[in-house]
Symmetry: C2
Subunit: 505 residues, 2 copies
Amino acid sequence: MLNRVRSAVAHLVSSGGAPPPRPKSPDQPNATSALPAAPAEAPKSPPAKAGGGSAAPAKTAEARASFSRPTFLQLSPGGLRRADDHAGRAVQSPPDTGRRLPWSTGYAEVINAGKSRHNEDQACCEVVYVEGRRSVAGPPKEPSPAQGLCFYYWGLFDGHAGGGAAEMASRLLHRHIREQLKDLVEILQDPSPPPLCLPSTPGTPGSSDPSHVVGPQSCWSSQKEVTHESLVVGAIENAFQLMDEQMARERRGHQVEGGCCALVVVYLLGKVYVANAGDSRAIIVRNGEIIPMSREFTPETERQRLQLLGFLKPELLGGEFTHLEFPRRVQPKELGQRMLYRDQNMTGWAYKKIELEDLRFPLVCGEGKKARVMATIGVTRGLGDHNLKVCSSSLPIKPFLSCFPEVRVYDLTQYEHCPDDVLVLGTDGLWDVTSDSEVAATVDRVLSTYEPNDPSRYTALAQALVLGARGTPRDRGWRLPNNKLGSGDDISVFIIPLGGPGCYS
Amino acid sequence: MLNRVRSAVAHLVSSGGAPPPRPKSPDQPNATSALPAAPAEAPKSPPAKAGGGSAAPAKTAEARASFSRPTFLQLSPGGLRRADDHAGRAVQSPPDTGRRLPWSTGYAEVINAGKSRHNEDQACCEVVYVEGRRSVAGPPKEPSPAQGLCFYYWGLFDGHAGGGAAEMASRLLHRHIREQLKDLVEILQDPSPPPLCLPSTPGTPGSSDPSHVVGPQSCWSSQKEVTHESLVVGAIENAFQLMDEQMARERRGHQVEGGCCALVVVYLLGKVYVANAGDSRAIIVRNGEIIPMSREFTPETERQRLQLLGFLKPELLGGEFTHLEFPRRVQPKELGQRMLYRDQNMTGWAYKKIELEDLRFPLVCGEGKKARVMATIGVTRGLGDHNLKVCSSSLPIKPFLSCFPEVRVYDLTQYEHCPDDVLVLGTDGLWDVTSDSEVAATVDRVLSTYEPNDPSRYTALAQALVLGARGTPRDRGWRLPNNKLGSGDDISVFIIPLGGPGCYS
């Protein structure tokens, strides 16, 4: 309890009682590195061993990372205790008083029913100002609108095996994105196609080299057109990788525990970029229609990628695993019999004669929420997990995990949105018990009871979705109205209105 | 010319003037191997070097493979000459007289405008009887309907760098599928779930081992349900691989030249399986709606798979190629500058500083029809190509090519089809100049001019599609009505009526 209070105080001090995030002035550039640095005051927590089998180390009182909630919730110490209470599972949202979230965003969250000590989801909602690289070297001059860019940013981070990675990603990933966009500030605002080649000095935005335009007769001499949009996608992809690399570096300083899924939305210059690495999900509900904006990355959906890697790099299997999948564990007495299997090339199944090495444990096994890589982890993309080892083994799992998101783009200017059109982001706590169409029905039901210009309608919708997935305590569990089990997981939801007060018109 | 006539005669002799294929009695089993063997009379042609750069060896008069047309066309020697005439480009279809193709299938083809000596497309349409494995050992007994299975089969094979692979695949791939299905004859006809494990003797269909049913608590102990459908998918996938392996073996005997895309349809027990490896395409046109039944596998669509392989196995790049993609060839003078690139993890683009090894040629380059792997080949899946080397190099390309199809399944019993609902298969000669919606419009236009029970309507539709893609000779080229260039490629089209006379009701 002391820990909790100390953490809550630290949290309040670090957020400074300030209003929710506004368009930022650029941070002080870090002289030694272009990468966003972890805050200097970040406490050193002891090394966290993730994965099953290893004893969890004792947490110090300073392990703030495992017990912070998003700053924008403006939680008092008492509120923080309520947010951390597995028995009550009170739904949390930003307060009605004071400044709302940017873009009239709605948000709600609830802690799990006891599966981990704290809520391992984290969230971030910011407006980020990107100053062009040119100004980085000298003292800032009066910024003109053409010199900088703003992007809106939303992030959901679903942690596992510790809260450190999710907490760190929620603090820093948008800074990595900003860093990646710095080189592009002028290019993105110039309607001509991006230059394929830039001079070597980052401070001087380059122009296209005319000598590269040669005949299109063959692939040797052709030139590919690259869009502004694909530069933003590339910036987001690389930001995820740099975030992951930073976690790896700071892990050596024993700061980052566990890993996290990351679902991120960037709004920039009229387009919405949805980047997903993990099993969170984003959908657009537009005029009642559902538009999927992400897909989940799990041992099942990425089976063939994982198997291919195990096949090409058998040393990663450590002699303990087989890259083949079988519908169940093969038993020694079945040697010589023929069992169904599939390999990295197959979506169907066929019979094969069981040989000795088929008795190894399969790299990918299980179904649905029970599917696992190396019998350990149920998601295959995300950030962190550099410590993760196979249970009772020193075999690392990280080589099979990808930190790269899939990025989908939605052009906000191509459709006239009404106030009931929304982008819904949710961690798997929502989607495990709620279908896309149930979410769409809730969108319709809740928003129709509020005036279109009522600013609280999107928070009310987020709360309704979280409550609907959590259920109510009954019959020794959290239950939905249909008496099925509600989600015992952490649940976090953002509602981003597409026809709302954004600056995209 | 002598070659052509000899080949034509050989073709007529081998087809024996027989009526089109009927449900077959099982072939004589091959005592030494379960694999379908190439016909004993197959001529030994000299080794064929594929790919650019190598001088093509002289063809012998016996190189029958390079000049056969599908048996079901029943071409006379004169007809065969007309089918092989690049100047006239006469559209070929099975004759109106005599037996029609199974399932009232429509078919039409035309030779290219001169890009290769002969038509390198091949086609096959068969009804194949599968006898269960149990009967293979002993003499055939009176088959009862429960003992065997029939499947309908259609295949389009688009050859490149020689006609041998396409010709061989059109003769043998359905036999490999039959071979793979032999073990499944009883299982597929048994409504209970397929047994996960079979006894080791192939002749004895097994039953499920009850001891494997354990609690579903974890991925260690769960058991996956495997459907009948996924067994057929697995059988087709493995048949493609075995066909490819047979080509590799017989290549050593110098018989198989070049490679081919393969688009195959299997109708079995109420379901249509569409397997595609390459850049042919299948769509269903149902009540005017377009349902894609395949996707194309090209250097562009498979870029990330190829790059990942080059990244994980750099020895496959031979020090000549880089796995990175650049929007154009990097020039030595650009060393140290920053150029756009993307790697195996990225769909977007970003800038990187050019280093020495970036001056290597990119593994994947070019766009659209000009996209190439290792500057050589424009498709990334298919059969054959075991000889294919990088131009002016001994670096093999085959490791980057996949012989595995993507299989999509369409349940014919889930929808009441009318006679105008069709599955359209076409080689890229059709799709390069014809969009899905143009095909759908032609389906509507042509079929509406024929009575629903007119058996010639599907052939007429295939002919209309081929003619529409070929165009007419005008202004020094084959031109479409809109004056754009028609396809100069070989064009082959199957029309499979979904509401037609199939036995699926």
